[in-house]
């Protein structure tokens, strides 16, 4: 069992920039705007920040963000690896730093020009010789070089194993877009979307079609994490980290763990889920709403299984009667998700999970949300967290 850091860290501020397809500003500008918005939301000053956690993929150095904002001294900065797998890992870093006293107030941030700058959909290329590039080199010469193509390979086999059909993928794609249509910050705000449009959209990498794939977005998101003692004096109701964990499982590759005995699964998320549940003393039945990382529609289904909302191969049945919708068993991705709000590598998901616990989502469920799940990207080392009201 991993160490227990339940209730050691509290989210007290959240911030997003405007999301767009062409920000017209630098990634650093987006980062400092998002962080400033989160600081303001918390009622703090930049100089209250003494720690930072972001992605290894983020181009904004902590010291640049700190100088631009006027943060001053930092006593903790830690980065998390593996693309979207880092989303809740940054929260994990922040929580550990606060729990151990290495920092008192840590900002988690991610900012990118994911559409107007470097686009992940363009795929990988082998310009430099690192272990990472050599890993992609086993796939690039065959043209298997985009995130959609890697996820498609898992999806094809998972659908074959389980008999889950595209009806289930559509339910994920549609439920998030209905949420997005009602969220003014979302790319899909005000937009209609139906099965006919889903079915008619172009194939990307079969079985994934256009609307199974997330946005590519410009924007930034940030959350401020601090101690429970500090949180009690601040402007917003505290949202406590009840459990958080990360995991890389046996025989793990980034997006291409094709060498496992059975590769149509996400054992790394099963371990993370087990540890988060053990830490929080909660189980799947206790989770009221969720923000489940949705770079592609099928990966939401696998995570429902990994977090024990249903068994392996049962997620198609779980979602078909509206479980993910506002009045369903598990309202999920109520901001519209990355499929229809914006793709900020899952950090906008931590923002939304915080809102769900505060009761301020654009699509707030009628029931009280005592416990919200938020997860990182899968197919890579990953993790998740459960957030709840601070005692």
């Amino acid at each position: 069992m991993i160490a227990n850091v339940k209730d050691k860290a509290v989210i007290v501020g959240i911030g997003n920039t405007t999301f767009s397809k062409d920000s017209g500003v630098s990634e650093l500008s987006l980062a400092v705007q998002a962080v400033k918005a989160a600081i303001d939301d918390a009622g703090l000053k930049p100089s209250d920040i003494d720690g930072m956690a972001t992605f290894t993929m983020d181009s904004n150095d902590e010291i640049e963000v700190a100088r631009a904002l006027g943060v001053g001294e930092l006593t903790f900065y830690g980065r998390s690896h593996y693309g979207g797998g880092a989303a809740t890992s940054c929260l994990h870093q922040a929580t550990m730093a606060i729990a151990t006293g290495m920092a008192e107030t840590v900002v988690v941030y991610r900012a990118l020009n994911g559409r107007s700058g470097h686009r992940f959909s363009g795929g990988v290329a082998g310009d430099i010789t690192t272990a990472d590039a050599i890993h992609w080199g086993w796939y690039m010469p065959y043209g298997l070089l985009t995130p959609a193509s890697w996820v498609a390979m898992f999806t094809q086999r998972w659908m074959h194993n389980t008999g889950v059909t595209k009806d289930a993928l559509f339910e994920v794609a549609h439920s998030t877009r209905v949420y997005g249509a009602n969220n003014p910050a979302a790319f899909f705000y005000g937009r209609n979307f139906d099965r006919a449009e889903y079915d008619a959209a172009r194939m990307i990498a079969d079985p994934l079609q256009l609307f199974d794939c997330c946005q590519e977005s410009d924007g930034g998101s940030a959350v401020i994490v601090t101690t429970p003692e500090r949180a009690r004096d601040l402007k917003q109701p505290g949202v406590s980290v009840l459990g958080v964990a990360q995991c890389a499982a046996d025989n793990q590759e980034q997006m291409t763990s094709f060498y496992r005995e059975e590769f149509a699964g996400i054992p790394e998320m099963e371990t993370a889920a087990k540890n988060v549940y053990a830490m929080s003393g909660l189980c799947a039945d206790d989770i009221d709403a969720a923000v489940i990382y949705d770079a592609f529609s099928p990966i939401v289904l696998w995570q429902l299984e990994a977090w024990g909302f249903c068994g392996y191969g049962e997620s198609g049945d779980f979602v078909k009667d509206g479980a993910l919708r506002t009045n369903g068993r598990l309202p999920t991705n109520t901001h519209g998700g990355q499929l229809s709000e914006a793709y900020i590598h899952g950090v906008n998901g931590i923002v939304e999970a915080t809102r769900l616990v505060r009761g301020t989502s654009a699509n707030q469920p009628e029931k009280t949300v005592n416990h919200a799940l938020v997860t990182s990207g899968v197919g890579i080392p990953t993790g998740g967290a459960i957030l709840g009201k601070m005692n």
């Binding site: 050599i134 065959y142 043209g143 086999r157 937009r191 590769f263």
Partner: protein, 318 residues
């Protein structure tokens, strides 16, 4: 060619850099549905955003747009060009090349960038300059210079819609085409190669020589792929390899539709294959229709040269 001759032509052609080919000129006709319909039909592009008013009324735009790639169409001069054109900087530049013996011409590439959408009723103004001229290059088609025009497109409000770069090679034609084969060829895109480092170079070099190897631990005989410096079973760093028979069975597959990457042949099917030796391997499935590929399908691999630079195992239905 002597240095003096080279100096002579270069002093003339480089003077054209930055010169205007067409001053800002509004198109004779506004953007209109009839022309969009013809273009979309010919291109086979049935995107509803261009012509389907019911669909666009419900879309976030609320109206139809002109296909972005049509931007260069609106300013075309039409049938009148058969009567000849007034000289401009580009035709003058071409004359200079021709005078010096660079009579060959080859349009090599067009690159468009889009900044703003426009709709029927808008009007496109085109402006073109000679943006750059390369140093002297030796190509498979002969020795010459690349020149590139830059067209800028704006709407009736003066807002930039997009740009187009058009690159042309003017060259001295080769008299003996066979001799040209030994010269540097024009860049034909090839597949993206794996970088080669300590831990994988040997594998790719064997592939270049027509063999697919599987790394084997010398201590416990466990096979491993992709190659790694240490055995995960017994931590031995001693290894050798065996050659795969390339008999296999498909565990999963996907047909890559979008984006299409230069250098790859489509339709393109990728699969995870369980090799008879027991290790899994990713490669392409060819020799059958993509719709015939299925999980459990038996396949057989053959080393093939797939482009000018790349040897790869290609798997066929067994």
């Amino acid at each position: 060619m002597t240095t003096d001759e080279q100096k002579a032509i270069e002093s003339e052609i480089y003077a054209f850099i930055g010169q205007e080919v067409y001053p800002p000129t509004p198109a004779a006709d506004d953007i209109n549905e009839a022309m969009i319909r013809q273009w979309a039909e010919i291109m086979g592009d049935n995107n509803p955003a261009y012509l389907d008013k019911d669909w666009t009324a419900n879309s976030f735009r609320g109206k139809t747009i002109s296909p972005p790639a049509m931007m260069y169409v609106w300013g075309q001069e039409g049938f009148q060009v058969t009567k000849g054109r007034a000289p401009n900087a580009m035709s003058n530049l071409v004359s200079v090349f021709d005078k010096h013996g660079y009579t060959g011409v080859l349009g090599t590439n067009v690159k468009q960038e889009y900044f703003k959408e426009v709709s029927p009723g808008d009007n496109v103004t085109i402006e073109m300059i000679i943006d750059n001229i390369s140093e002297r290059k030796t190509t498979g088609r002969g020795t010459g210079y690349f020149f590139e025009t830059l067209s800028t497109f704006t709407d009736q409000r003066g807002e930039k819609i997009g740009t187009q770069r058009f690159k042309v090679l003017k060259f001295i034609p080769q008299e003996q085409p066979s001799a040209a084969a030994t010269e540097d060829k024009l860049d034909v895109p090839t597949r993206i190669a794996s970088p080669r480092g300590h831990d994988n170079k040997w594998w790719w070099e064997a592939c270049d020589d027509g063999k697919v190897l599987i790394q084997r631990c010398k201590s416990c005989q466990t096979l491993r792929h992709p190659p790694r410096p240490m055995c995960g079973e017994c931590q031995s760093m001693e290894w050798d390899s065996i050659e795969s028979t390339l008999d296999g069975e498909i565990l999963s597959h996907t047909e890559i539709h979008h984006p299409k990457i230069p250098g790859y042949q489509y339709p393109l099917v990728c699969a995870v294959i369980k090799l008879a030796e027991g290790t899994n391997f990713v490669a392409n499935i060819i020799g059958c229709s993509p719709s015939e590929v299925h999980i459990g399908m038996k396949v057989k691999g053959v080393l093939e040269q797939v482009d000018e630079k790349t040897m790869l195992p290609q798997f066929y239905p067994a």
